[in-house]
């Protein structure tokens, strides 16, 4: 195999990104591999014959095979992996060539690649495998794309424009189907075209297949043009919701083409069927969505498999809907949209990331594969080109679309608040792309009943190519030319969220006053119901009570914090109280989240702590100035030890005081408090007896000049003041602050009194400015 030489240059130097030049040999090698595996069935059969022969000839002994080649049993997974690898490498390659990806949309390039691969296979083998098998397409390739779209569907704009979307989807598609089918039948009647054998019903069937706007193609093209949200949701929503119409029309016409006639009863049944298909699909999806939300409530201990529930429930919704011939696409959309708010409230952050990236990955690979297979199937399929039919189809598709959009908009604009302008209409009409769904539906037609199947398929492929290539490539420059409003890249700010909610409430109130039960009224009712019953049931723990605003704020702060950490500016948080925010962000994720009321409490010590730290910081500076005047030998009491015996303390104090009563303070630096000045002036070497504590007036003790650790003094003073939150006392620095002690004795009683005593003994020279209040008291007895 040519693989090894292609790999080594890539593997050698890891720092270099994979150059386009290296990709090409790689891709070529893969293509050869694919062609080779497609050609391998011949080898296998031969191998099987040999085995049978050996068995019948009584096991003649062979040498033990050191290296054997057995391809048959891994053929299928091997081929699938090769296709996926090819698709991914192609995708990688396109983005390495910037000029190309800006001019040509990815879908076009992928179809071209598909054509090349198909051509290659045909050259080698003359038989292209039917890759776009309808089963494969509908069961494996389509669901990831739809689920991705449904899970991340922006609910608000979707709901606001639901009426418009539904009218385009249902009425628009019906109009398209009947117009195209009818006019085509007329074309078929023309002698020159020699299409006489195509009856009315097959034409209508063809019309219904070709009329539906394809979500895959729309997604692929619209994603690259970044158009404004309204237009995006209109076209995309239409492409999703028209599935129900397509399903019903398809089955209706398919059934009755065999029979040959359609009666009025059939038409009535068809309408009822449409309602059943649409509503049934949505209900099935919603039911599975609720199940998924309920399951996610209990996954707090097994976080690893959380994403699996999302994927499996959604896929089951799709399959269940398909069992009953309901609209699988609508089921998927409903499931994703319903489960999302509850699941996201329950699952961990990592699971959320996992779900997001898995969905994007699968849908991306699916989309790539679909387009490549379209190319391959074009080459491989049997075609029957009929000029009249094909050109008529292409022209009619365009014409029908334009007439449909313009006509419907005229009606819709009467009911819309924000009208659709001509520019909008043009984009909506131009964005009606057809894609692989139409092809697969055509492929599903039974060749026995539909001899014209090949003509149909050819026409379908032509239309698809036309829409994807011509419309897909030109829509971007047209959008620029017409200056259509683009998508706003700005993230939703908390201001917008608050004001939007505010306006919602305001408008609901005004509607109530006018007695007008409109949009806001029902939305408000739904929200209330949701908050009261549904959230309690489906969301685990206390998150169920969290208002939407607060949840949004947490998410925003978390994102911001992650961004800051990633950018390396860890310390600078713009939010006013960062510590409270981070605590609350972590808490909701814990399985046993405390009550919202309790969430407030952990903050208090932190807030206090901040204050205390601030005070400490301020005063530490001042302490340094006065350090020299402190007494080293006095007791340093621990303010935290509440268990101190007061009496014991008092005794100790008295002992020390008596021992050093003969000493006078020697202030080394000029002290500014008037009391101290007095002390200096009237320095009288008299023993100073502390006044009895009972009268609540702590006296200033004269003591040995003994330095203490300023911290302890700080701490005592500070904790007192911390508790008091009296900012004016900070300036006094530490110590004694007899006035505070005086105020506090009524509050705290004995304990503090003891501490005051200590402080007093300690702080001889410097009672601080607070002592001003003591001026009325005699300094010296």
């Amino acid at each position: 195999m040519a693989r090894s030489p292609a790999w080594s240059p890539a593997g050698g130097r890891r720092t270099l990104p994979l150059q386009p030049g290296l990709l090409l040999p790689l891709a070529a090698a893969l293509l050869l591999l694919l062609a080779g595996t497609a050609a391998s069935p011949a080898v296998d059969d031969h191998g099987k014959h040999q085995k049978v022969d050996n068995q019948t000839h009584n096991f003649t002994k062979k040498a033990f095979p050191v290296l054997s080649f057995e391809y048959a049993h891994i053929k299928t997974p091997f081929e699938i992996s090769l296709w996926v690898l090819l698709a991914s490498l192609m995708k990688l390659g396109f983005h390495l060539i910037p000029r190309l990806s800006s001019i040509v949309p990815e879908s076009c390039l992928l179809i071209v690649v598909g054509l090349l691969v198909g051509g290659l296979i045909q050259l080698l083998k003359e038989e292209v495998p039917p890759v776009l098998d309808s089963n494969l397409f509908f069961l494996c390739l389509l669901p990831p794309i739809i689920l991705d779209a449904g899970y991340f569907l922006p609910i608000r704009p979707f709901m606001e424009n639901l009426g418009t979307i539904l009218i385009f989807a249902v009425v628009g598609t019906l109009w398209n189907a009947f117009f195209i089918g009818g006019v085509l039948y007329g074309v078929c009647q023309i002698e020159a075209a020699n299409l006489k054998n195509i009856g009315l019903l097959p034409c209508l069937l063809f019309g219904s297949v070709i009329s539906a706007v394809d979500p895959v193609a729309v997604l692929a093209v619209f994603e690259e043009i970044h158009i404004n949200e309204l237009l995006h949701i209109l076209v995309f929503g239409e492409s999703l919701l028209n599935d129900a119409v397509t399903v019903v029309l398809y089955h209706l016409f398919e059934e009755y083409t065999v029979v040959g006639t359609v009666t009025v009863l059939d038409i009535v049944l068809g309408i009822i069927s449409f309602l059943v298909v649409a509503v049934g699909g949505v209900l099935v999806g919603a039911a599975y969505g609720f199940l998924a939300a309920l399951t996610s409530r209990f996954t707090s201990h097994t976080r690893v498999i959380e994403p699996l529930f999302v994927f499996v429930y959604s896929y089951m919704a799709y399959l269940s809907a398909e069992v009953f011939h309901l609209s699988g696409i609508m089921a998927l959309i409903a499931c994703g949209a319903v489960m999302r708010p509850y699941v996201e409230a329950n699952i961990s952050h990592k699971s959320h990331t996992t779900i997001k990236y898995f969905l994007k990955m699968w849908s991306s690979v699916s989309e790539t594969l679909i387009f490549i297979f379209l190319g391959v199937a074009t080459v491989g399929g049997s075609h029957s080109w009929n000029w009249a039919f094909v050109t008529a189809t292409v022209i009619l598709c365009l014409v029908a679309r334009v007439i449909g959009v313009v006509g419907l908009t005229a009606i819709i604009n009467k009911f819309r608040i924000v009208k659709l302008t001509t520019k909008d209409q043009f984009i909506i009409a131009y964005g009606g792309l057809r894609g692989a769904i139409a092809f697969s539906l055509g492929f599903l037609l039974d060749p026995k009943h539909f001899e014209m199947r090949e003509i149909f398929l050819t026409a379908i492929i032509t239309v698809i190519f036309f829409t994807v290539f011509v419309q897909g490539m030109t829509i971007k420059p047209l959008v620029e030319l017409l200056a259509v409003k683009k998508k706003q890249e700005a993230k939703r700010s908390i201001n917008e969220e608050i004001h939007t909610q505010f306006l919602d409430h305001l408008l609901t109130g005004i509607e109530a006053i006018c007695g007008h039960y409109g949009h806001h009224h029902w939305k408000d009712k739904l929200n209330r119901f949701n908050k009261k019953y549904v959230k309690k049931c489906l969301i685990a723990g206390q998150r169920s009570k969290e208002p939407q605003l607060v949840a949004f704020y947490h998410k925003m702060e978390m994102k911001h914090a992650i961004e800051l950490v990633e950018s390396g500016v860890g310390s600078k948080m713009p939010s006013a109280v960062p510590s409270t925010v981070s605590m609350q962000n972590i808490q909701p994720k814990k399985p046993a989240a405390p009550k919202p009321a309790e969430r407030g409490f952990p903050q208090l010590p932190k807030g206090r702590e901040e204050e205390i730290r601030k005070i400490l910081r301020n005063n530490l500076q001042r302490t340094r100035q006065r350090m020299h005047s402190y007494n080293r030998h006095t007791l340093v009491a621990d303010p935290f030890e509440d268990g101190f015996d007061d009496l014991l303390r008092k005794k100790q104090l008295e002992k020390t005081i008596k021992g050093i009563s003969n000493y006078l303070p020697v202030p080394a630096a000029p002290l500014d408090s008037p009391t101290m000045r007095r002390a200096r002036l009237s320095s009288d070497p008299q023993p100073y007896n502390p006044k009895p504590k009972s009268d609540g007036v702590p006296a200033i003790q004269i003591d040995l000049a003994s330095p203490q650790s300023p911290d302890s003094v700080n701490v005592i003073g500070e904790f007192k003041r911390g508790g008091q939150t009296e900012p004016e006392e900070e300036d006094r620095g530490l110590m004694m602050a007899p006035p505070t002690a005086a105020k506090e004795t009524n509050k705290r009683g004995e304990e503090d009194g003891a501490r005051d005593q200590q402080k007093l003994t300690r702080c001889l020279s410097d009672p601080g400015p607070g002592a001003d209040e003591d001026e009325d008291e005699p300094f010296l007895p």
């Binding site: 607060v550 409270t580 009321a597």
Partner: protein
């Protein structure tokens, strides 16, 4: 209108209201019948109790403020003209109106006037600034009782920080308009009054 309890709306009045607010004839008559049905005292004016009797307004978090917005400064009664004048803010903007509005005084339902109405509902003391306290009050009303003050405070601080470009710690009307420039106010602040 005066003190005369008129149950029928005269043509001249309808014309005047039409000119002032831009509502159509049928809309005005429909809203008049709603006005009279709310007016239990039948004195041609609505009082605060009349509004409070509306059940949906009672459960609306902003109910009181909305009611207050109808009553001009210091008054306790609002007549039909005042009622319509306030409701005119919520009329959808017509395309042809947009063109003519540039010439004369902007109509009551222009984007700027809609935003002015919303702004006044935040700014109770009418100082043309939404202070932190006013914002906190509104947040408290919308969020309910479960959230602590500190948490709400940090949300309010963040909100002001995002919007406040002048650095005065309050949100002025211009800053308010700037923040909402991406929001489709014409759509969000309009009610579809059926013709």
């Amino acid at each position: 209108m005066g003190s005369r309890a008129s149950t029928l709306l005269r043509e001249e009045e309808i014309e005047e209201i039409k000119k002032e607010t831009g509502f159509s004839h049928s809309q005005i008559t429909r809203l008049y019948s709603r006005f009279t049905s709310l007016d239990k005292g039948e004195n041609g004016a609505l009082s605060r109790e009349d509004f409070q009797r509306i059940p949906e307004l009672a459960i609306n978090p902003l109910g009181d403020r909305i009611i207050n917005a109808f009553f001009p400064e210091g008054e306790d009664q609002v007549n039909f003209r005042g009622f319509m004048r306030t409701l005119a803010h919520f009329r959808p903007i017509d395309d042809n109106e947009k063109k003519s509005a540039a010439s004369s005084e902007p109509p009551l339902n222009s984007r700027a006037n809609k935003l002015q109405f919303a702004f006044r509902m935040y700014d109770l003391d009418r100082d043309d600034k939404i202070s932190r306290d006013e914002l906190l009050q509104v947040l408290r009303m919308m969020v309910g009782v479960n959230i602590s003050d500190d948490q709400l405070g940090s949300i309010a601080d963040r909100t002001i920080q995002e919007a406040d470009t002048s650095g005065d710690g309050c949100i002025s009307f211009n800053e308010f308009m700037k923040v909402l420039e991406n929001v489709d106010v014409e759509h969000k602040m309009s009610i579809r009054f059926l013709h």
